[in-house]
């Protein structure tokens, strides 16, 4: 579903991503761990089409992101580290707006059900976003991703700054999406969240994918040890 084939990104002499090879299957959750500057966000940005790789290719559902960026947009949804929304619009309105960008026009009831599903309490649905906490905004971001019915989900540090309960709810949603066939690529610093939710975990260092582990084959402590040894 999400394939990186010798994906390389250079900024002058600096290599941000070095011959990355990845194959994330349908319904699989792949967590990328690594320090800041390891190349996690660059990988996600290459799949999003935000940056052009220097060489290699990223494909989604068999379509090259570089050559058919417009087409691949319909397959993906994205949740950034901090979901920023229009402060003057309510949660429902923001969801309606971003859904309409993706050519989805939902009824108010549908929009509310997406937000509820994402864990946002109903009393907040019609409040302006400026009164939302970060966690609440992340939930709207999840609702936007879910409403897009994308087959691939790209997450860049999605649980950063969320309280444990909200993080847990978020993991639940990811599992549900995965069960429904959504492929998920998640960049994170959170080793325990990665272990808990991902099927496979990759550890990146200086643009290279240095380790790739099946999550079920390793305990959280072992993963932490491996991570610390690697980076």
């Amino acid at each position: 579903m999400l394939i990186a084939n010798n994906l390389t990104k250079k900024y002058g002499d600096k290599i941000a991503l070095n011959n990355l090879n990845l194959n994330i299957k349908t319904g699989e959750i792949f967590a990328l761990l690594g320090q800041n500057g390891a190349g996690k966000t660059t990988t996600i940005n290459c799949f999003l089409g935000f940056i052009k790789p220097t060489s290699g290719e990223a494909t989604i559902h068999g379509v090259s992101v570089t050559n058919h960026s417009a087409e691949t947009k319909q397959y993906i949804a994205y949740i950034p580290e901090t979901v920023m929304l229009y402060p003057n619009l309510t949660g429902v309105e923001n969801l309606a707006f971003f859904s309409s960008l993706a050519n989805f026009n939902y009824s108010k009831a549908d929009l509310s059900s997406f937000l509820t599903k994402a864990g946002l309490q109903e009393s907040a649905h019609h409040q302006a976003i400026k009164s939302y906490s970060k966690g609440m905004r992340q939930k709207v971001g999840i609702a936007i991703a879910v409403a897009k019915k994308a087959i691939a989900l790209l997450l860049d540090e999605p649980t950063s700054g969320l309280d444990p309960k909200a993080s847990n709810e978020f993991s639940e949603i990811l599992r549900e999406l995965s069960t429904n066939g959504t492929s998920i690529l998640m960049a994170t610093h959170d080793i325990f969240r990665a272990k808990e939710v991902a099927h496979r975990i990759g550890i990146m260092k200086e643009g290279n994918l240095v380790s790739e582990i099946e999550a079920k084959d390793i305990s959280a402590n072992e993963l932490e040890q491996l991570y610390l040894q690697t980076v």
């Binding site: 089409g49 935000f50 949804a77 920023m84 229009y86 960008l101 050519n103």
Partner: protein
């Protein structure tokens, strides 16, 4: 999506304040236009009354000699002031819309009418055209400078980019909401102007509306071009404000300097001097040459002669007055030609500068440009000549004052109807705006997926 963009726009109080400022300044400008029209109307009414009173008084006291009476009696010609002048006062606050002249030396009298407070000339008028040309672009800049950059700076852009491949459509709609809001204020002001100033819905008002519409559209296309470079908000604001200063202040000032440099008008001074010399020097000269020249000018008046036994006659006096105009005729003609050349050059250069083009066009449409004033001056010359031709035979034949029906001499009116070339008015905006939009389109396509 449009409804949500409108909601987002309406809930942003700063933008509404911008619209309110535009609307309030527009209303103030209409009030200034109304006051100008009322003041002008008052002057005309007073002059009409004064002319009648003046003629009655002089006829009563100077009833022995027609020549003496006509030394004093003044006849007024009004440059008709349609109500649309209230939208763009232009040259009307510098040059009078009414001239009151005797049949004596005209050149001198052209510059003696001063019915306006010179203070107004110093501070200028904030008419609707001023608001459209100067204020509207500032609000357009305020509404549009961060059209793209605010999305980036507030963090929504990455989410937008991930949701759609057609970000330009969203930006177009976002700009469209602002465009429609500004146009709504413009059309509302024009609608109010139509009724408040009682402006007839004729070709001039229609083209005025079109001009304002295209001018506003030009500024939007310029803003669209600047934001298409995907610079940050402060850079966009700097570029756009610099454009505003350049287009509204620097370029007009430079153009003015260029026009003055290319067409200096020393004749403005020499015409008055020539006229005064031409008349005054005759006092010390022999009468025959003066009368001879007068007869050459008006062969139909050859039968009237200066009595040899008299030192003074009205024929000689008015011939002497006539010489003032004749002496100044060359410099007066040159003066008018140069003013026309200045106007023509300004219009030609203005085709490439929308602010100047708009000001000149609006002045033309509102009968307040220099062409209108020159036409009025030429009409005044014809009017003055007609009065001379009517009264000269009566003066020289010593017709009794009582034989004339003086109450028929009311104010005369001059009506100018400028011919409007719609292509020349609108084409410059179309060309410049289209170029801006095309360039912007190239930029947007090039940076389609830029974070």
């Amino acid at each position: 999506m449009v409804a949500l963009l409108i909601k987002n726009f309406i809930r942003s109080k700063g933008l509404l304040v911008g619209l309110a400022i535009l609307f309030i300044s527009g209303i103030i400008s209409l009030n200034i236009g109304k006051q100008f029209l009322e003041k002008n109307e008052k002057i005309i009414q007073k002059t009409s009354h004064f002319q009648k009173e003046n003629i009655d008084r002089y006829v009563q006291y100077m009833n022995k000699e027609m020549g003496l009476l006509l030394y004093y009696v003044r006849f007024g010609l009004v440059n008709e002031t349609p109500n649309i002048v209230g939208l763009s006062i232009g040259q009307r606050d510098i040059n009078p819309s009414l001239h009151n002249v005797t049949i004596r030396n005209l050149e001198e009298q052209k510059y003696t009418t001063d019915l306006m407070n010179p203070m107004y000339q110093l501070i200028g008028n904030m008419d609707l055209s001023f608001v459209i040309i100067y204020f509207f672009p500032l609000i357009i800049i305020a509404f549009g400078f961060n059209l793209v950059s605010e999305e980036k700076e507030e963090g929504t852009w990455s989410l937008v980019l991930s949701q759609t491949a057609n970000t330009q459509k969203m930006l177009r709609l976002k700009a469209g909401v602002r465009y429609v809001s500004i146009l709504s204020v413009l059309f509302l002001l024009l609608l109010i102007a139509k009724f408040y100033l009682s402006i007839p819905f004729d070709i001039y008002f229609t083209v005025y509306i079109l001009t304002a519409f295209f001018y506003i559209s030009f500024w939007f296309s310029l803003v669209w071009l600047v934001v298409s470079f995907h610079k940050n908000s402060s850079q966009n604001a700097l570029i756009l404000l610099t454009s505003w200063i350049t287009l509204t202040i620097i370029v007009p000032a430079l153009m003015n300097a260029l026009v003055i440099q290319l067409y200096p008008i020393p004749e403005a001074f020499s015409t008055v001097l020539d006229s005064r010399d031409g008349y005054h020097s005759q006092w010390d000269k022999a009468k025959e040459p003066t009368i001879e020249k007068f007869h050459q000018l008006y062969p139909q008046l050859v039968k009237y002669n200066h009595p040899k036994d008299k030192d003074f006659s009205w024929l000689w006096y008015y011939a002497m007055q006539q010489m003032g105009d004749e002496t100044a005729v060359a410099s007066s003609k040159k003066l008018k030609e140069k003013i026309k050349q200045r106007e023509n050059l300004s219009k030609k250069l203005g085709l490439w500068v929308p602010t100047i083009h708009t000001q000149l066009t609006m002045n033309t449409l509102c009968f307040s440009d220099i062409t209108n004033y020159l036409a009025f001056i030429e009409a005044l010359e014809r009017f003055h000549e007609q009065k001379r031709m009517y009264f000269y035979p009566k003066i020289f034949s010593d017709t009794p004052v009582s034989s004339e029906k003086w109450d028929t001499f009311s104010l005369a009116y001059f009506k100018n109807q400028p011919v409007i070339n719609l292509y020349m008015v609108l084409l410059p905006y179309l060309i410049i705006s289209t170029l801006c939009l095309l360039w912007a389109n190239i930029n947007f396509n090039r940076k389609k997926y830029n974070l």
